[in-house]
């Protein structure tokens, strides 16, 4: 049970198996059905969510009803609205399970408790925040200036198996392009790379 989260903790801290098992007694784990929500816009986000199994997405909805996908979280990814948690303010995000999933609810207190026990975890956590900011900057930059093909190419490196797990319209929404442009990019790539 919770193999992915155990691996995550043992890589990021110097805690041994017994201490990790002890910590895991306190963690909240939930099984979600596809379509269940972990966060809705307007609510204050209280947790980060670790995907032990399954797939989550964070997205916003425009007034017109159009969705924009901000992030996917397959196995071993964390997803949350950090600023909503930190500033205790209503979130603009929805977080939804798009497959049946097993999710750990990670509170700030829980993170603090592990960091107290493990200086290595504290450092890893700081680094994770910095790398999250780096990711966001790269994403802003790509959404402002990169071609559809460049966006797609970054996407498949970041999420190698998602093309098989989510509908194309969701990928297009994440990339900020139309489903038709995504089809064109994939068709062009196949023309270039397919040797029959």
């Amino acid at each position: 049970m919770l193999t992915n989260f155990k691996t995550y903790l043992s890589e990021k801290s110097e805690l041994d198996e017994t201490s990790i098992d002890e910590i895991l007694n306190d963690v909240r784990v939930e099984s979600l059905q596809k379509g269940d929500f972990l966060l809705k816009a307007g609510d204050v986000c209280k947790h980060a969510f670790f995907t032990e199994k399954g797939l989550l997405r964070a997205f916003t909805i425009e007034e017109s009803g159009k969705e924009h996908i901000i992030q996917f979280a397959p196995e071993t990814w964390l997803i949350s609205d950090r600023s909503s948690i930190y500033f205790n303010e209503p979130s603009a995000l929805f977080i939804e399970a798009i497959e049946n999933s097993t999710v750990l609810f990670i509170s700030a207190e829980f993170m603090g408790m592990i960091a107290e026990r493990s200086p290595k975890f504290q450092k890893a956590n700081d680094r994770a925040l910095q790398s999250h900011i780096r990711q966001l900057q790269q994403r802003i930059n790509q959404l402002l200036g990169a071609s559809a093909e460049e966006r797609y190419s970054t996407f498949i490196q970041k999420y190698p198996d998602l093309l098989l797990r989510v509908p194309l319209w969701m990928i297009a929404s994440y990339l900020g392009i139309t489903p038709e442009s995504l089809s064109r990019v994939r068709k062009d790539l196949a023309k270039k790379n397919f040797k029959s």
């Binding site: 098989l164 994939r186 023309k191 270039k192």
Partner: protein
């Protein structure tokens, strides 16, 4: 020659939908005891037991998806499926037909209920089987064998007992219609009530039967009913099947491919690195393109 006896009878697991057009019981690899290595070279078996699909304007089915590293075999008992793939093949698999697709280095395909069948609705019953390929053949070019029922070799049993459709392998000297990469026997025994058929396969071959219609008795002692899957021991060579009522039985027996298996979704390779390569090749279009 020693008798080959049943090791375990598996009831059909709870069904789930593949896409919206196939309501299947997965026997291999998720049922207890039927993992990929135990059943090799048969690494997946989905059974759409008889199910009535209501009429539908939009054909139900499974959209474009890839495969690499193995072969898919579709056996249609009831209903019709239309398929298309990225190498340009397309066709209709009707009742009694078999489609043997070698995905090998990679193919994209989609499978939908055939239009007319979709419009009228009706009974649907199929088996989809994945047959693994040995490491040396996993990256060979994709190919396709569409085998209509009239092309399937049929062995007429004595005493008006029925017939054996030899899809692949050999029955009493009659060779099957499909070519395979490793020794595989795949046949439908269509038996009349009280009809008996005897089979003989090497002891170490992984051997099983699936009861498509009716009920049977194996080796004069064990009864197996409709929709059940019986796995045989890997000792002994011969067994016989007697139909307790008119019956159709799918018989599978193949030489195990004793190589490591790394699998994820529609890719079945030998190592994790090869799996990662499969994902990447699929993502960058090396499997071609197929419109949904």
């Amino acid at each position: 020659m020693a008798n080959k006896n049943i090791e375990i009878v598996v009831n059909p697991p709870a069904p789930h939908f593949v896409g919206d057009g196939f309501r299947v019981h997965n026997f291999i690899p998720s049922a207890y005891y039927l993992d990929m290595q135990r059943m090799s070279p048969f690494i997946m078996l989905d059974y759409n037991s008889k199910f009535h699909f209501p009429p539908s304007k939009e054909p139900k089915g499974v959209g474009v998806h890839p495969h690499r590293g193995f072969e898919t075999v579709t056996i249609a008992y009831k209903g019709k499926v239309a398929h298309h793939d990225s190498t340009g093949n397309s066709g209709i698999i009707g009742e009694g037909d078999v489609q043997w697709m070698t995905a090998a280095s990679g193919i994209l395909h989609k499978e939908y209920h055939e239009e007319e069948f979709s419009r009228t609705g009706g009974e649907f019953q199929m088996v989809q089987l994945w047959v693994n390929l040995p490491a040396k053949d996993k990256m060979s070019p994709p190919k396709y064998q569409g085998i209509t029922n009239d092309q399937i070799q049929k062995f007429t049993l004595p005493d008006n007992a029925g017939e054996i459709e030899v899809i692949a392998g050999e029955y009493n000297g009659l060779k099957g219609s499909a070519s395979t990469f490793t020794p595989v026997n795949l046949m439908n025994a269509k038996l009349k009530k009280d009809g008996v058929a005897s089979f003989s396969f090497p002891a170490h071959f992984n051997t099983a039967i699936l009861i498509i219609e009716g009920s049977i008795e194996v080796n004069g002692k064990e009864k197996v009913g409709t929709d059940k899957f019986a796995l045989f021991e890997t000792e002994g060579e011969t067994f016989d099947i007697k139909a307790s009522e008119d019956a159709v039985v799918l018989i599978l027996s193949g030489e195990p491919i004793n190589e490591p298996i790394a699998s994820h979704g529609p890719f079945v390779m030998n190592t994790k690195a090869e799996l990662m390569e499969a994902f990447n090749d699929f993502n960058v279009g090396k499997f071609g393109y197929l419109e949904d």
